[in-house]
Amino acid sequence: MDVYCSNNVLQARRAVEQLRLETELQRIKISAAAEQLVQYCQEHRRADPLLTGIAASSNPFKDKKTCVLL
């Protein structure tokens, strides 16, 4: 789908302006971008409960079973 096509001249002019703006973006190398993503995941790995698992005693969503001594 050609997202920049239009019948209206004003819209077409705006689209060209927008494209000019986007062309000027400073892009970093993918190796650097990938490294940062991986690093972030690594650094926060231990603090991610869905990844590490949660002990039953510290899981606020787990019903705590109490023992009743009869």
Binding site: V9, V16, L25, R27, I30, P49, L50, L51
Partner: protein, 340 residues
Amino acid sequence: MGEMEQLRKEAESLKDDITAARKAVQDLTLQDHVAGTAVVGRVQLKTRKTLRGHLAKIYAMHWGTDSKLCVSASQDGKLIVWDSYTTNKVHAIPLKSSWVMTCSYAPSGNMVACGGLDNMCSIYNLKGKDGNVKVMRELAAHTGYLSCCRFLNDNEIITSSGDCTCVLWDIETGSQKTVFAGHLGDCMSLGVAPDFNTFISGACDFTAKLWDIRDGQCRQTFGGHESDINAIGFFPNGNAVITGSDDASCKLYDLRSDQELITYQDSSIMCGVTSIAPSLSGRLILAGYDDFNCNIWDSLKAERVGVLSGHDNRVSCIGVTPDGMACCTGSWDSFLKIWN
């Protein structure tokens, strides 16, 4: 040669320039970079709570910043604020229009908002003096349905609409501060950056756009999807964007290299993605699908590492708590489930 033809040629040329600029930074792929990294182990989450009470399809849910309260919206015409630890309903708010498609919890916890086919975003004050929850403001100006809304603070909210625009509102005055125009199709979803300076929108023109909240400019546009983008979110570090589409795939776009880094898809998955959320570290991406399931992806290796099955109808919304402790899924089966 008319002006239209000239403009069309210039547009094509600029698009080629952007494609070339993106290619120029492709020194490596994400897959190459993580070739030596192991896939995360199988993630098996259990349903810890089921929130029962809605009488019709649930269309949206959003966690409060305390990671305990959450709000859900259903086409039974109610917004329910739940205490997810106890499953108690803290508020059950009747709506003027039952055709609700989105809801949001203010970061302060003082307000919730919702909207849908009424084309309006209604703001409710949860902390009114007499204890009753009342409509505080009705933000009306969109000429299409309200697909998503997210509070920046108690006085500013961003909405996305079927009229192809997103709007930043001043809640106190009820006026539009900024209109973000540029999408060529219905805007379906939005996500606010962790630093609150930018937001992203996903639309039915198959693109995602990054917007500067203060100056209203579209900074970047991401293509690649082959159908409507229904869901969008930021990677936790704010430097990447994840999207979910009717083309049955999810994608990760890096903002600084301005391109797609990876696609999450499987030949066995043929239905649309309705909702998406990253885990706290970003290593897991949870996505809700039309086939009643939610798939969990290893975000770096693009492999499916878990499934959440338990709903009897489409998973329409998903959210991970700010503290990362649990994920909530909402479904057309009228239930919300909390998993961890």
